[in-house]
């Protein structure tokens, strides 16, 4: 029977949403200064084209504007210069073609884990389908046992997985992840990275992943985009783009990745102690 879907594959799938391309054209963002202060330029001249289904990692030191750039793509914030498009049309305020897993889990404290994930379901999902989808996502992020717990009863790492599941519930054309594994212990973090690889294989949506973890970027991304500030100019912009070769899941110990890691660490100003 060829018509039945393979049951064994990880199933983060509902009505498949096509992966969407993203284009950033000369994007800049300045924040008004405090009273009497001049405005502060955080991002400038960001030029980037992201292909449908691509995984792009945004890498940069803390405070350089990674979250701010992600907020431009999600439409939660507007650039002060330049334009952004998704699938050729301008990003709308809180663009519903995207879904965000924020840097903080941002769960509603009075709702159970399952009901928090429900919030991510596309509007108009019918009840039964919604419940099934939530159960599926809970299994995917290994939280089925915690479905009925409230956010204050779970650990920070579990909360971040709930937040990831909530974003996945949307079946977004562009999935935006802001340091999604930042609060996880090293082992769980590796498991979750593998999980993301699985999810992407089943549902190859476009993913923009903010991270400050070089290894995470190399394990997951097709391209690593480095954000940085030049000493002589205010405002961070793209300082470097690295293509990461090899199909996922990748051998974390491969020599190719080791060389790329050294390059990235050098670019970030960290001695890599890598023999070339």
């Amino acid at each position: 029977m060829t018509s039945t879907a393979p049951a064994a594959a990880p199933t983060a799938r509902a009505a498949a949403t096509p992966a969407l391309p993203v284009a950033l054209n000369g994007v800049g963002r300045a924040f008004p200064g405090a009273a009497g202060q001049p405005e502060r330029l955080v991002l400038r001249d960001v030029e980037l084209k992201i292909a449908p289904g691509e995984i792009v990692a945004l890498l940069g030191p803390s405070g350089c504007g990674k979250s701010t750039l992600l907020r431009q793509i999600s439409g939660l914030d507007r650039p002060t210069s330049g334009t952004l498009t998704i699938d050729g049309t301008r990003v709308a305020p809180a663009d519903q073609r995207t879904a965000v897993a924020f840097q903080e889990p941002r769960l509603l404290p009075w709702r159970s884990v399952a009901r928090n994930i429900e919030l991510g379901l596309p509007r108009g999902t019918d009840r039964a389908a919604g419940r099934a989808r939530v159960a599926e996502l809970l299994e995917l992020v290994q939280l089925s046992h915690a479905a009925q717990l409230k956010p204050r009863q779970i650990s920070g790492g579990m909360a971040q997985r709930v937040s990831l599941a909530r974003a996945l519930a949307r079946n977004p054309g562009v999935l935006l992840l802001d340091e999604p594994f930042g609060a996880l212990d090293a082992l769980t973090r590796l498991t979750m990275q593998d999980l993301l690889v699985d999810i992407h294989r089943v549902e190859p949506t476009t993913i923009v992943l903010v991270t400050h973890d070089v290894d995470e970027a190399l394990a997951l991304a097709d391209r690593v985009v480095l954000l940085g500030t030049r000493f002589d100019r205010p405002g961070a912009t793209i300082s470097r783009i690295l293509e990461v070769p090899g199909a996922r899941p990748r051998d974390r110990a491969s020599t190719v990745l080791a060389r790329l890691r050294a390059q990235l660490l050098d670019a970030l100003g960290v001695p890599s102690h890598h023999d070339r």
Binding site: A99, F102, L108, W110, L119, R123, R166, R170
Partner: protein, 314 residues
């Protein structure tokens, strides 16, 4: 049952005395039960908040001992006061018109009950408080929502509401009496004004301080203005609303007495003025005790609602 003063002097109705006593006689045989129910609910509340890590049986036992302890400790001072009162009134030369004995106060209550006035006064006062409280709470919630959620609303309403709140409660009484007559409306209006402000203040403040990150998350997941209100903002302010309601209830009793002291021919506040004019210290004591008991009882009722709400939304 509805009371008002338009009928002139309160009529002594035989039914009102039986009504006043019936609930008490219904309570007597099962006097052990309500406290048990309370213990159970206290425990389930505690365990739902993760206070009890031990098994159910141990937890229940612990909760029962805890609540019995609390009852005992809470009773120490009232019982002590009662004893001091008894000794001071019976064993000293303080005259009765200054300090009536507990027995005389109970006697005053029985006397009023026999005239049919006790139940009437209690019921009309409770009715006024609850009506005024309900109206005030709804108005306070509505105004609080407008000021807390809308920038324009806040800029327009905050100054005037702040000014109105600054007017001492008693200042309204003469004006309300002239405009609205001496009937129920001015009293209820006054109580509603008193009850509205605590609700307004807490709700407006809480709505303005709802975690902006949660609101943004709601927006990111496609919630428009109204769904955002019901899904994120209102649930987030439930604890504040509840504490506002409790404050409002206390205010309602305060404003009730103010209203009844000044313009009334029925109710517990009227009993206070009337007894003062007739030198009936025993009735004054009775009225004060009743106000304390009723205030505490209505507060406990709100407390039960509070626990249910916080269990769901807290």
């Amino acid at each position: 049952m509805s009371f008002d003063e338009r009928g002139g002097a309160p009529v002594s109705r035989p039914s009102s005395t039986t009504e006043g006593r019936e609930p008490a006689s219904r309570d007597l045989p099962s006097s052990g039960r309500p406290s048990e129910g309370r213990r159970a609910s206290l425990f389930s509340w505690a365990s739902s908040y993760g206070f009890s890590t031990a098994g159910t049986a141990v937890g229940a036992q612990h909760a029962r001992r805890f609540s019995a302890n609390a009852l005992l400790l809470g009773a120490v001072i009232p019982v002590g006061l009662l004893i001091v009162w008894l000794i001071a009134s019976e064993a000293t030369s303080i005259p009765d018109y200054l300090l009536p004995s507990p027995g005389q106060v109970i006697g005053a209550g029985v006397e009023l009950a026999n005239q049919g006035l006790l139940a009437t006064y209690i019921l009309i006062s409770v009715q006024r408080v609850l009506t005024g409280f309900a109206i005030g709470a709804v108005v306070g919630l509505a105004l609080g929502a407008i000021v807390g959620l809308s920038d324009v609303g806040s800029k327009m309403l905050s100054p005037i509401l702040g000014a109105i709140r600054a007017v001492p409660s008693l200042a309204w009484v003469p004006l309300l009496t002239i405009y609205l007559g001496i009937y129920e409306v001015p009293k209820i209006t006054l109580i509603a004004i008193g009850a509205a402000f605590p609700v307004f203040t807490t709700v407006a403040g809480a709505l303005r301080h709802v975690d902006p990150q949660l609101v943004e998350a709601g927006r990111a997941f496609g919630l428009g203005r109204l769904p955002l209100l019901t899904t994120v903002q209102l649930p987030a302010v439930v604890p504040a609303v509840v504490s506002g309601l409790r404050l409002a209830l206390a205010q309602a009793w305060l404003f009730l007495v103010a209203a009844e002291l000044i313009a009334s021919s029925m109710g517990l506040g009227f009993l206070l003025v009337d007894s003062q004019n007739n030198g009936r210290t025993d009735r004054l004591f009775l009225a004060i005790l009743l106000l304390g008991i009723l205030g505490k009882a209505t507060d406990a009722l709100v407390g039960v609602g509070e626990r249910a709400l916080l269990k769901r939304w807290g």
